[in-house]
Subunit: 435 residues, 4 copies
């Protein structure tokens, strides 16, 4: 857990006490299922359930960790700690189970919970992105490719691209949740040697999970690989948005700004600074989440029915990757809802191109008049490059070009430079986005 980048919700999901409580949740569900099959005395389940309400899980966690120092086995330590609290009846716990039945199933339960938490943040960010896209739907600004002024667009359309990416991420997260929401109570090597498959079914139903159709000692780790890979891709989407804002906030661009808190200071040395520290922070967090995915990928090829090498990796990356992503989503939501937009500067940058951004329109107009693309390109490039080097402005260069003026009237040229025409499909794009 990384306190600085962990929300309270995630801190709770991945706390020691939550882990032990979830282990008990699995153990109790298994015990009740056994009881229903008359394999153990009637009434034990209800009794233990009742007793367990009094357990202080934080204390139990501490006691279990203490015992683990001797046994060097976490589940055995947990069961011993439980025995101390629940007494004789606890002997009916863990019957026919192997540690991984408990640990891996509870792990799936926590991963699912953390993913649902991420899902809520994702939905909040998607919502604000759609709202802001709508708000700036017709705010004209420069689209840039290669960091160069390209053609006009609207700031709303820019934002819509991110909103729709986040929608895709919502779907991907749902798929990742379906992947990860599998538990197993199939015993030490996955073949139900000492347990009935119906116990597994009952427990999974109780926990909202699906029984793994063929498990080894654990749920196979391709599921986790896909899960952490999906988190990395969502983080990559946040990074793309963060980088966009950082660019727009550059001193020379100054078209959009992440919110700057009251009392906030940009630099200890330079009192004039307002820095995009929130989006820079998210850019770094994306690198972290990406790197966690690599470790998850390496976890796939466990030996035979399992080795435990994945465990140390997952102890770290499961809380860290989910918490950092949750935090980054929250942060970007704050950035996007507090975003300051300078539409005047946007217009200023459009104007500064002096029409160059319509070079394609002129090119096309020439092409439609039957000029060969190659030739038309050379004519328009000539007018543009001269303008870029300070010889006349693009518009006049076009109009006075000996060859162009044989084909295009000045009026045609003026028409080609109409922003409204260029942006006539914006509404249609917005309309076709499904929400």
């Amino acid at each position: 857990m990384i306190p600085r980048y962990t929300t309270p919700e995630m801190a709770q999901i991945w706390s020691d006490e939550a882990r032990y409580e979830n282990w008990f949740r699995v153990e109790l569900a298994a015990l009740i299922a056994l009881e229903n099959q008359k394999e153990i005395p009637a009434g034990v389940g209800q009794k233990l359930k009742h007793e367990a309400q009094k357990i202080n899980w934080k204390n139990l966690a501490n006691r279990a960790l203490e015992i683990e120092n001797t046994t060097r086995h976490d589940v055995i330590a947990f069961l011993s700690a439980l025995e101390e609290v629940l007494g004789e009846d606890s002997r009916w716990l863990h019957l026919g189970l192997t540690s991984s039945d408990v640990v891996d199933t509870a792990f799936a339960y926590s991963l699912q919970k953390s993913a649902l938490q991420i899902g809520q943040r994702l939905t909040a960010l998607t919502k604000i992105l759609f709202e802001q896209a709508q708000k700036y739907k017709h705010t004209v600004c420069l689209a840039r490719t290669h960091g160069q002024a390209a053609e006009p667009t609207t700031f709303g359309l820019k934002l819509l691209s991110f909103a729709v990416e986040m929608q895709r991420n919502e779907e991907r997260l749902q798929a990742a949740i379906r992947e990860i929401a599998h538990g197993k109570l199939s015993g030490a090597v996955g073949n139900y040697g000492n347990i009935d498959p119906r116990i597994e079914e009952a427990v999974m139903l109780e926990l909202g999970l699906v029984p793994e159709v063929v498990s080894t000692q654990v749920v196979p780790r391709d599921r986790h690989a896909i899960f952490f890979g999906t988190l990395a891709v969502i983080a990559g989407g946040l990074e793309r948005l963060a980088v966009e804002i950082r660019h727009l906030m550059r001193s020379e661009v100054a078209e959009a700004f992440e919110p700057f808190g009251k009392g906030q200071r940009g630099s200890s040395a330079m009192p004039h600074k307002k820095n995009p520290i929130l989006t820079e922070n998210v850019t770094g967090l994306a690198r972290l989440i990406r790197s966690y995915a690599m470790a998850a990928y390496e976890n796939q090829a466990l030996w035979h029915e399992r080795d435990i090498s994945h465990s140390s990796v997952e102890r770290v990356i499961a809380p860290d990757a989910t918490a950092v992503l949750d935090f980054a989503l929250l942060r970007m939501t704050q950035v996007m809802s507090g975003l300051e937009v300078d539409a005047e500067n946007m217009q200023k940058h459009l104007d500064a191109t002096q029409g160059l951004i319509f070079s394609e329109s002129i090119l096309l107009m020439l092409a439609k008049k039957g000029i060969l693309r190659q030739t038309a390109y050379e004519w328009v490039q000539r007018a543009a490059m001269n303008a870029r080097e300070g010889q006349g402005d693009f518009l006049s260069n076009l109009k006075k070009d000996t060859e162009i003026k044989k084909v295009l009237a000045a009026k045609d040229i003026d028409e080609a430079l109409d922003v409204k025409h260029h942006l006539r499909h914006i509404d249609a794009i917005f309309d076709r986005v499904k929400r």
Copy 2:
């Protein structure tokens, strides 16, 4: 392209000539759509389509690459090369298109094609895994956790686990294909400034792709990140299988062997060697595919409406990752269909444990008799550890243990050590797998 690890099918999909032919495919579809909208003279489409049948795409590729040396722009070079071959009418090509409309759409087309090729290999491997699983359904062998003898299982169940993982991979690949099968003809910055969205629709229909709902100059790269991430997870599954075979083929285990070709030599120095080189090779290939995914993840955060940094990455990883995976799938299919299994050795290793692998059954039997888990565990561990250290065998140790014999009769103990009982659910597991 990595000739050593590229199948002919993949070599074709990613050849220069295929790339240019696909670009033309996009250009022609766009031209025909324009013609249908009466934006260009009727009949041009049919004429160019007819002319194009005569094109030698290899020659055209070479000529285009030659021109690119001057223009330093691949699509412009391609159009010039086309103009040389198709003459005057080629002026109607690329009208209102930006390079990325062509290149990115054709790229999606090729990625989809390569993924379908991978899909076929995956299906072949899945099939052989299911067949082998069925064949060895009741071949008893040792399940191992932590590389240690754990409990009995069947070799078929082992294989079933891989078969079912490959089934999951088939589904994931389908999802990845849906992700990647998106093209765009939305112009230089994604807002259809000089092109009608209906042209895009018509072109995508023709190519079997879906129009990207909001594109920039390119299809957003989160789609590619998910795609290459999925390839990495599939490769991780192959690695798990490869590592399993490598373990089983160890000299001391010798339970299963990858096929050894006639005339094959294991070592230039040691004529006695039969080495698992095919599965070791696949283990390495998985590392490659995993690493390509990292590069794809870093491609997501392009600047503004796009920068071209992703392009050099994709030129390499798109052919290499798909080809290497295709090759690795083919190789593992050969390994699994030619797999030699030594059931006698499997049995020998079961026997060598002298019943230790049933320690859980004894533990459970004691627990059901009401012995506290903690206590029962100590009794059974004592009998087991003595046996491991050469003091008696496990079975006799159990039977003569003063405390155990108060609770369990020798007959009970013999019963607990019955393999058949342990494996009673194997058929049920096989039955519940959906195909």
Copy 3:
């Protein structure tokens, strides 16, 4: 910080209080240097140094973090917290400094300290590896390539290979420390706009660091990339050793064992299990450390004179990567010093090959008698493969082979199968290792 995998030493180095204390260390050194240059009143340095001895750094850390909630700037918050404690004189702190002067220099100081801690562990592990190598210098065992019995070797030589790799790692770590031990007090953009380079020199001397020859606002991040990359390679060496032990501890191999604690339990379900959990754990930790390196690599390309995206990454990976490596080194040292070796089993596996492991010696003997390699290979392979398939044993097959016996006498063959001859260079290898 990952409590489970963090030693007390590392917990201290990366604690909040240590961070603030180190910041103060830099600030005070700078102040004293300014005082020496007569830029601030004489005596302030001694006075603050004296005052600071009373500071409870834990309390100060908490107060600073509290203030940061408003200022959203960690160094400004720290200075404010200091002001509250040190009063008026604290005005002379941070004069001409930018936050990064303090933070980045203190960071280099902590990284160096953590690397020195790692260095101590590395030395301890190297030492035990050399001792164990010496101890088992002449304990004959099987060398295995591709997991297959290859030729005889000694267990000491195996260990020597790891000892020498750790020696290489000691050198690499020293190089990495030299890389990372650079600080900067060059002001907001690295050109000493408001500070004299001599202040930087004095501060670095005081902290045992080297001034960065050309810095931006920060020390350039290629240094950190190399540093974390080096940690990954050291971790990879631990992984190689861990995997070796895991293989040797397999039930079927049983040649060496990691120590098994008194009271330890292998499995909650199977009381007979002794699992290599320590080495499996280290295998996973290596994956973590490897993945952290990737994030460090992505930190290199900061924008212009710096953006702060590297910071969130480093807040996590600096403590986590160094602590996890420190822990893994300690763990492997415990494993290697408590290693149990079963020399009888080693001999058993040598015997089980029935001479096959000397196939190269026979091949060479034939070659020296003038038989073409190709031909000799076929003869020996034939004898070996027949033996592998149960037709005779290798030795008899060789002796009765019609063609071989034309060239080699039975006596020659017996000679070729002499382990002593094979291992005649072991002492020489040990002798040439420099310590």
Copy 4:
């Protein structure tokens, strides 16, 4: 090999024919050493050396690959192909060697060669960076942190930072070459079972390599991990430089430009575009090289005395990583030698800040007058933020601030805003760089 990103030099180093020629180089050196030890007939070495001069290595490569289809073992195939050409005497080749003796030693030879090639490019880039740094030593421009105008600096100092980083990379490359330049002729499992260590010594001397002090069947892969990690860090340095140029070339910044070829076209749709495609390309190439390092890291933990999983990885990444880096270095050298600099725009951006970039100087001046840092900060931030929001300019705001003017005279303020003062240490920084 990636033809698009492979220079002719690298294509040669990694060609099939070079590989086989290098294998022969090792074999011949070993044979001559054996001859010198009188283990084989005198004169064979000279004879084979003479014969080998006639070998067409391309043909031999093809024949060897053909034979490999049957033997599935590359070195055995190579020896057979050699036998066909060199006849009877070839029987003395490979005596006492194992394939890896040849392959791994030749691999080290090629890696070293490719690294030396990279070293030459690195030196060329470093040289041009120093020259350009010198040229623009006093060209004043804006330093930017967080993408925000920070303080004045010079363009030469910016470049010096990259020049010095490349110097560091030269040193790192030398260290990496020392790491990788190790070969081994220690036989099948590394203990010289059938070969004399003096043969190894002689061969390494001949090839310019160092004998590995303790090898397994191969040179240990920590050396390769360090090597490819170093390439990744060098690539990260190129990326930092490429990103700097891309930023400076943005339409709104327009301070420096990568060269734009005659006849070059920026966009197929927009004739006005001049795009930083070279530096964007290098940005992508860095991602590739980084990802290759990950695969190299995973290669470390080979099983026992070696498994061959590293081989497929290295077949790809060795040529690809070195070639791509060589290409990227060349490309950045071209960019930096043809760099166009617009010093007027640089000045324009400095002016546009209206003195804000000197806020630190004012702050310091106030501090030296005894104003508490906190208070001074608030005063200066107030003047700055008002200016940023269009209320007066910074200079006037400062001068008319009721509190500031109690402490600072207008003259003091003017002085604090002097660029020359700010840049007074530039020469000293340049002077202290060692070349």
